[in-house]
Amino acid sequence: MKKILAIALALCLVLGLSAATAEYKTVEAGKFIYATSPDFPPFESLDDNDTVIGIEPDLLALICAELGLTPEPYAIDFDSALAAPSAGKVDAVVSGVTVKEERKTMMDFTIPYVTIVQGVVFKTGDDITMDNIGEKKIGVQSGTTGQFEAVDRYGEDHVTAYDKYSIGFQALQNGQVDCIMVDDMVGAAYVKTIPGLEMISTGFEPENFAFGLAKGNDELLAAINEQLQKLIDDGTVEQIILKWNE
């Protein structure tokens, strides 16, 4: 009896340990390095200590804790962040990435965890509607779905792409562009911080956000999907999103 107990205990211990330190193949052992453009509140932004904070870092913290990995952000401009996983520099891009068919050649997407729509932010009082936006100057971030939508719909001449949203929103305040096309949840965060701005929805097709993992890391993808599904099912994702949208 004692013997069986001991074996069971040992088994538990071994299993438990192996669950905590399951060997996932990552760029640096034990770490989960992700490329991100931290000018994208509430999904990710920088606090005063240069720490990346927001919805996605919170989610990653929970997921990685379960997988026995330490999340480590690699801050870079968005278009470069998208290219980082296929360049083998990082394990994933986690930067409010919209699931798009073309992007699947570059990365393996996890299951989506939130849905957004493109919004248009402009200075309160300016006459900007979805009917006349085609005549305006639209600011976007380089490489975002907002850029593609704006260029495809209104033409290159109406669009100016900036490295960072922070520069884009400064240009908006200066009047150098008439509006910024940006994911609605992010736009709302900027409207909240910068006085005198408002946002309308574009009514374009909704977009799903997911993490983009370096291609071929099926074990890690499956593990993250499992954890993410759990967090969606028990309402944690929603809670975190609500918390950051307060």
Binding site: R103, T105, G139, A161
Partner: protein, 254 residues
């Protein structure tokens, strides 16, 4: 076109493809699909436009600064001109500030603060680059003017020519020959620095390459393509400079 679609589908599906097929697909989508070469072409146009504008502005500014500063330094001791001293002080500060701050910071300040209400990003970029280049050009020209033998100025002045004529006909032409290599170097730096104006929204060559790279999620072909264009431009420029230099050296032959 059909071949491109077919091969691209093969690549997306992960079917085995030859290196040639991969090259064809990536090259096609980087430069030919949706007439993307037009984006590069208009980007090159902007790059050249900004370079020429900035170059002219830089040389004019540099010449003014250099002449004023040289004139100030060569005044009779004890006979300092107050107005000249005032301008000399301002220009000295200009050179110090511009050479002491990074190009990128200057672009941000010019684009987002000083010209906050301008939408002509290309013009603001050209202006910033020109002002930046002027500070470096000024020192190059000043060095060139100083390198011309003092006897040349003396000879010109002893013949009764005024300072301006002596500079214009005697000193400057000789200085140009001495500074041309350094000036050419500065121009090359300038040409390449135009790529920085994309941060304030100037749509030059790098902006085009970046847009295409973002569209295709494939950075190599657009960026290498842009690099090759820059290289070709610099090589053409170097060649032209060489021809110009040879013509200036005509008076050296024996």
């Amino acid at each position: 076109m059909e071949q491109f679609v077919a091969w691209k589908a093969m690549m997306s599906a992960g079917e085995p493809t030859t290196i040639w097929q991969q090259f064809y697909v990536l090259f096609y989508q980087a430069f030919i699909e949706n007439d993307r070469w037009r984006q590069y072409l208009s980007g090159v146009g902007t790059t050249l436009y900004v370079t020429v504008l900035a170059l002219v502005l830089g040389v004019v500014l540099g010449l003014i600064v250099a002449v004023v500063r040289t004139a100030h330094d060569l005044q009779r001791p004890g006979h300092k001109n107050v107005i000249l001293g005032f301008f000399n002080g301002i220009l000295k500060m200009y050179v110090t500030v511009i050479r002491g701050t990074p190009m990128m910071v200057q672009l941000m300040i010019m684009g987002l603060v000083i010209f906050a209400s301008s939408r002509n990003f290309v013009m603001v970029g050209a202006l910033t680059l020109g002002i930046n280049s002027g500070a470096y050009t000024a020192e190059i020209i000043r060095g060139g003017l100083m390198s011309v033998d003092q006897g040349q100025t003396e000879a010109g002045r002893s013949l009764g020519m005024n300072y301006a004529d002596t500079m214009r006909f005697v000193v400057v032409p000789q200085a140009i020959k001495a500074i041309l290599p350094a000036l050419g170097n500065e121009f090359i730096v300038l040409l390449k620095d135009t790529s920085l104006i994309s941060v304030i929204g100037g749509k030059e060559l790098l902006y085009a390459a970046r847009s295409v790279a973002a569209r295709n999620y494939e950075p190599m072909y657009p960026y290498v393509g842009a690099a090759i264009v820059y290289l070709i431009l610099v090589m053409i420029f170097t060649k032209l400079l060489g021809i110009f230099e040879r013509r200036l050296r005509a008076s050296d032959r024996r």
